[in-house]
Amino acid sequence: MANFYETGPAKPVTESVRVDKVTPGARARHNIRAAAVILFAIIGLIPIFIMVVTAFKTRADVVAVPPKVLFQPTLEGFVFLLTERVVLPPAALAEKKQSLEQLDWMERVAMASGQTITGPSDYVRRLWNSVIIAGISTLISVFLGLLAAYAFSRFPIAGKDDLLFFILSTRMLPAVVVTIPLFLMYRQFGLHDTHLGMILLYTAFNLSLAVWLLKGFIDEIPKEYEEAALVDGYSRMQAFRKIVIPQAATGIAATTVFSVIFAWNEYAFALMLTSEEARTAPPSIATMLGRGGIEWSAIAAGSLGFLIPVVIVTFILRKYLLRGVTFGAIRQ
């Protein structure tokens, strides 16, 4: 292609591109760049891939040296994560094998390592705690955040910028700074290790995010819509219900999802302010290491409970990701 400057590229160019970007050299650089990105992505995703794979390994395979690439997939990790089991004596085990058909899949998996299920594990309860606490706190914080965001977006408020900054700054506090006094307060009011306490805390924790994100979304709805409704005889509340909320629906949905994810992932508060009753999944995954031997496959299985929602959310919300992780400070 020495004579590129005379003949041009072999195929006619039917996209919008600068002349110096279709030279053979530029084309090659473009391909190298694409290859580098893909390589980067693959390297970055290897740990996640390994996490997924490990969740389907047996206890023995997980700690095989060197790591096993090919293995017999099993649901052992999930069963160990979700159930309490006891080891059966050989006689009972043989007896149980007779009635293999009547067992559900969990029992069968447990039996493969000579155990029988005695009941659901603590982790099930903690997952359930996570669902309740993350769910309810998100609902409340999005609801309160929506109201506040609307007020901040539409009405004159003395010291508005300072108030908004204050709201944001609550999110920037190191968790431990607030936890010490909260721990004492909660102990005083009997809120320590209760669902209510955690819901209150996570609501406050997510409120700053909700206010900031939703304010951004509401700012984008033209004021004129409501003004038209007010002129038509609707009250402010009706205008808010019938115009602002439907218009902000996408924003509300995105905010909800971000709040859920943050509450779902939260570890520090839960570690310090719960012990048993209201403990959520993240701190209990961590303690699993200490209990009854290292069950890496169970940990990996539990990790999937954090990975899968996040992957889905990342793809659905990729348009809003930047807003979400910068509290709406940056809009695309």
């Binding site: 400057y5 041009g8 006619p12 591109v17 002349v19």
Partner: protein, 382 residues
């Protein structure tokens, strides 16, 4: 010397044409305006000349040399952007000096040259400022200086006044024109504003829907539009266009009793071009109509616009047909009054009702022939 030759250049995005193949020769020192509504392909054409956009077919020549695949920086052309494109984090002086430094000119020469162009544009007082602090007009002056500093063979300007406030626009227009006359550099100027094109250009290339509609002097495109698009697009308001069947040497226009007699010099051409009884379109500018009690055409005053120096009458022939007539500002016509008028035979143009093309010459009297032809697909294949 800088003659730019476009040979059958085209731009396709997939199967859609952004610019359909056409050829054009821009003479040395000429000021050519590419004029058309947004999305017509004028900017794409300019960008193809500059190398900021590749062609999908055809070639571009500068003084005979093929520069179609030459990099943008190596075509010896300067580009002035609508949004100035000044480098935001260096001073005005460095912005202007930048192209020379990139060429590796000696520092002392660089700033001598900078001072020259700065005095031409009278922006000495801006030299130490950052572009961010300048007004739109000053930004564009700096951008012009940066273009000028290289002594390029040609200037390419993409709506340079488009982002300016009205108050700056006219003075900048004069400035660019003056600059062109003093440097005598070939200039291609993209605009959607016909007033700008008419005021500045030696020749105008009217584009629409990816196609060149007409190439001609401002007088050509105004007085002798090549087709209905140009007739409507040029002028404010555009040309009045009335359709009616031709019977002998007369055309039956809309409304009652509006029989227009074709002026004698044009009868033959028109009779040859349109079959008896078929529609022909009569076009005339608002100023070509003369109010006259005995006039052949008549309609009702629908609205009047007082425009200061003159008055514009909207005269309705029937419910779908309204023509604009320019008249003396002192004449008063109540709404609904019936007026009669004649047309200046010199200024009447005729168009084919089906092809929408002009019948007769598409040059106003006294201009030289021009070298443009829209290449059709057959030519391309050959």
């Amino acid at each position: 010397m800088a003659t730019i030759e476009l040979r059958n250049i085209e731009k396709r995005f997939g199967e859609t044409y952004a610019v359909k193949p056409f050829s054009l020769t821009i003479q040395h020192g000429e000021f050519v305006a590419l004029l058309g509504p947004s999305g017509c392909g004028k900017t794409t054409t300019l960008r193809m000349i500059s190398g900021l956009e590749t062609v999908s077919g055809g070639t571009i020549h500068l003084d005979g040399a093929n520069i179609t695949w030459q990099k943008p920086g190596y075509r010896n052309m300067a580009f002035v952007f609508q949004f100035y494109a000044l480098y935001p984090h260096i001073s005005v002086r460095e912005n202007i000096a930048f192209p020379l430094k990139a060429e590796g000119m000696a520092k002392s020469d660089v700033y001598k040259r900078v001072d020259e162009v700065v005095s031409i544009l009278r922006i000495e007082n801006l030299l130490n400022m950052r572009p961010g602090k300048l007004s739109g007009g000053d930004k564009q002056r700096v951008a012009l200086a940066r273009a000028l500093v290289r002594k390029p063979a040609a200037f390419l300007m993409d709506e340079p006044l488009g982002a300016l406030d009205a108050e700056y626009r006219e003075s900048m227009r004069a400035e660019i024109k003056r600059l062109h006359l003093s440097t005598n550099a070939t200039t291609v100027y993209v605009t959607h504003d016909q007033v700008e094109a008419m005021a500045m250009a030696d020749r105008i290339v009217v584009m629409s829907a990816a196609e060149v509609q007409q190439v001609g002097t401002p007088a050509d495109v105004y007085h002798a539009p090549a087709n209905l698009f140009v007739a409507r697009f040029i002028g404010s308001p555009g040309m009045n266009l009335l359709a009616g069947p031709r019977r002998g040497e007369k055309v039956e226009l809309p409304g009652t009793g509006n029989i227009y007699t074709i002026p004698a010099p044009q009868r033959e051409v028109l009779q040859a071009a349109t079959p008896e009884g078929k529609n022909v379109i009569v076009g005339f500018r608002p100023e070509a109509a003369m109010l006259n009690e005995q006039g052949a055409l008549t309609g009702e005053v629908y609205a009047t616009d007082m425009l200061g120096a003159y008055k514009l009458l909207h005269v309705s022939f029937d419910s779908d047909t309204v023509v604009h007539i320019r008249c003396d500002r002192m004449v008063s016509h109540p709404i609904g009054a019936r007026v009669r008028f004649d047309l200046d035979p010199q200024q009447v143009r005729f168009f084919d009702a089906t092809t929408e093309k002009a019948i007769g010459p598409t040059q106003s009297a006294g201009t030289a022939p021009i070298s443009v032809q829209a290449a059709n697909a057959q030519e391309k294949a050959a």
